[in-house]
């Protein structure tokens, strides 16, 4: 009950933050959607980092390390540290400048202008929203697993089950409902500003609590050295767990940040280009601070034992436990109630700091890319604009919530599929910024071909059910990138580019 109480207090604090942020709101749609472009470097760093660190980073990494060992860090974390900063540097700053100059609030607005095509926005919108749904799912599934783990045995009279692993745990339907409701509330109260403030607070919470969990769990296991002595030896190396080709081709997955709609919105909220500097430098370090404890907890879990009720040593994580539940079980069984509550709050912080940005971005996209584009912006009052955004957000959240109840997948696997889809569209945004000859038809064919390939491959993998799905030993993202680049370049070479004025607007020639 103490654990649950701490979690409830934490969620109440987030709601309070939402109310406070609402008092700073200027009441305009601009303030709701991009915080009037007033976010400074520290908040931008925290907001971007909090947004990119999801249940994937904590629940997913721990569970995947439990299954596949230390190589998981190299697969995602160290590649992301290098690639994310490259994308912020090469793409983020440019998109910020376009947003500032031309008033963009969404990616579709940028692509419509860049390719002189209204239709490209209608094509991209459902694809981007469709790819955000698995991202939302990652968050909700992650929260479900963690709360189940730490509240096991807490309320057996209210939530009895036949399975000892879940008897008395808060059920998934309730966890998902609460997490979505709290996030929706503080986002609805304060918009992007509330999300940015909440992200700052939550980023600090999950970074600190991740380190606290690492220390507490290692202490309970007899110290770091003792904990490491029991690790399954297969998890200490990559041989037999991860192929060289897989390790290499994961490098494409982090390119996804170049097309995340919620990151795009974060970028636009920056006060100036200089605001990005801290983010570019600190991002790899922050990733390291979050992922290393999670990986260690995951591999420790492979051999962690504690004294059972009968005095015998028993496994902390049962053999039958699924990957998503590893972090929750380790925290629940090896921390005291207070620390368990605080660490769980930290994990929820990571999850909700992504959910809030994702919720905001889909609302922004719907109103700007569909409603305003069809009917005109001036037809609606600011209150109506905000209401439309909120309505669409609730619709997508409900869809994601329902999917979370019926389609559980490994958080890491689902996350990688989602990121692969966005990564495959990265060539489009890169070409739009740097290649004068990219054409509208090239963009259309790229988007359609890439999306069709993603759907096909995702279906071949059993919609993420086959966690080790590869194509000729390669990560699916490699095939997707190849399709994307080939279609974009080949079609661009044989079709007409936009007008010279448009090209000069985005990529001025050196003589001007």
């Amino acid at each position: 009950m103490i654990t649950l109480t701490i979690i409830i207090i934490y969620l109440a604090m987030l709601l309070a933050l939402g109310f406070i942020s609402a008092r700073y709101s200027r009441g305009t749609a601009a303030d709701f959607f991009v915080a009037s472009q007033s976010i400074g470097p520290v908040i931008l760093l925290m907001s971007i980092f909090g947004t990119t660190m999801t249940a994937f980073a904590m629940v997913g990494s721990t569970g995947e390390a439990y299954i596949r060992g230390i190589g998981v860090y190299g697969l995602m974390a160290s590649w992301s540290g290098l690639v994310h900063s490259a994308v912020f540097f090469l793409v983020g700053i440019k998109l910020w400048s376009y947003g500032k100059k031309y008033g963009y609030v969404t990616q579709c607005q940028f692509f419509r202008d860049r390719f002189e095509s209204s239709g490209i926005g209608y094509l991209l919108f459902p694809i981007l929203v469709g790819l955000v749904i698995p991202y939302l799912l990652v968050g909700i599934l992650g929260a479900n697993s963690v709360i189940t783990g730490v509240t096991r045995g807490a309320l057996p009279d209210i939530f009895p089950t036949d399975n000892p692993a879940t008897n008395g745990s808060i059920p998934h339907w309730l966890t998902g409902l609460v997490i979505c409701s709290v996030t929706l509330t503080y986002v609805f109260l304060g918009g992007v500003r509330a999300a940015a403030w909440a992200n700052t607070f939550q980023t600090i919470v999950f970074m600190v609590m991740g380190c606290v969990a690492f220390y507490i769990i290692s202490s309970k296991l007899g110290g770091m050295e003792a904990a490491s002595q029991n690790i399954n030896p297969e998890r200490l190396v990559r041989e037999g767990e991860i192929s060289h080709l897989e390790f290499l081709t994961y490098c494409f997955v982090p390119l996804s940040v170049g097309m995340f709609p919620h990151l795009f919105q974060n970028w636009l909220s920056a006060k100036s280009a200089k605001t990005f500097r801290l983010t570019v430098i600190a991002h790899p370090i922050f990733i390291m601070i979050v992922w290393i404890p999670c990986i260690m907890i995951g591999i420790w879990a492979t051999g962690a034992v504690i004294q059972g009720a009968d005095g015998n040593m028993v496994r902390v994580v049962p053999e039958t436990a699924n990957a998503n539940s590893v972090l929750g079980i380790m925290v629940g069984k090896l921390s005291g109630d207070v620390l368990s509550g605080l660490v769980t709050a930290g994990v929820l912080a990571a999850i909700m700091s992504s959910l809030d940005s994702q919720f905001m971005c889909i609302g922004t996209m719907f109103t700007n890319d569909i409603v305003f584009h069809i009917f005109g912006k001036d037809k609606f009052s600011d209150q109506q604009k905000v209401l439309m955004a909120r309505t669409f957000i609730v619709l997508i959240v409900v869809i994601s919530y329902i999917l979370s109840l019926y389609e559980p997948r490994r958080v890491f696997t689902l996350g990688v599929w989602c990121f692969s889809g966005f990564a495959a569209l990265f060539p489009l945004v890169f070409a739009a910024i740097y290649w004068r000859h990219v054409t509208k038809m090239g963009a259309y064919v790229c988007i359609i071909a890439t999306t069709a390939t993603w759907v096909y491959l995702f279906q071949q993998s059993g919609y993420g059910d086959n966690e080790l799905y590869k194509v000729m030993g390669l990560m699916p993202v490699v095939i997707l990138m190849a399709v994307s680049i080939i279609s974009l370049v080949a079609v661009s070479f044989v079709t007409q580019p936009p007008s010279k004025e448009t090209i000069e607007k985005f990529i001025p020639s050196r003589a001007s």
């Binding site: 860090y73 160290s78 400048s97 500032k100 030896p233």
Partner: protein, 79 residues
């Protein structure tokens, strides 16, 4: 300097594929697998390289370009 830093990024990408620790189960400091320590260091070095990129390769004209564009837009019309 710009070329050196971009080359450093590419070199780092190549060094990511650490064949030499692939099957090494040594525990550094008594508890951390050496393959993980290597990639921890990789992350730290990535931050340092990007710090150098921010200092020496920063697109300094971006802010002025934006200010100029906004000023030009304000001059001919008021909408």
């Amino acid at each position: 300097m710009r070329k050196i830093i971009y080359s450093a990024v590419i070199l780092l990408a190549a060094l990511h594929q650490d064949f030499w620790y692939w099957n090494d189960a040594t525990l550094v400091w008594g508890f951390m697998p050496i393959g993980l320590v290597y990639h921890l260091a990789f992350s730290v070095v990535s931050g340092l390289v990007w710090a150098l990129a921010v200092v020496y390769c920063w697109p300094s004209g971006v802010e002025e370009e934006v200010k100029q564009a906004l000023a030009e837009m304000e001059t001919p019309s008021t909408s």
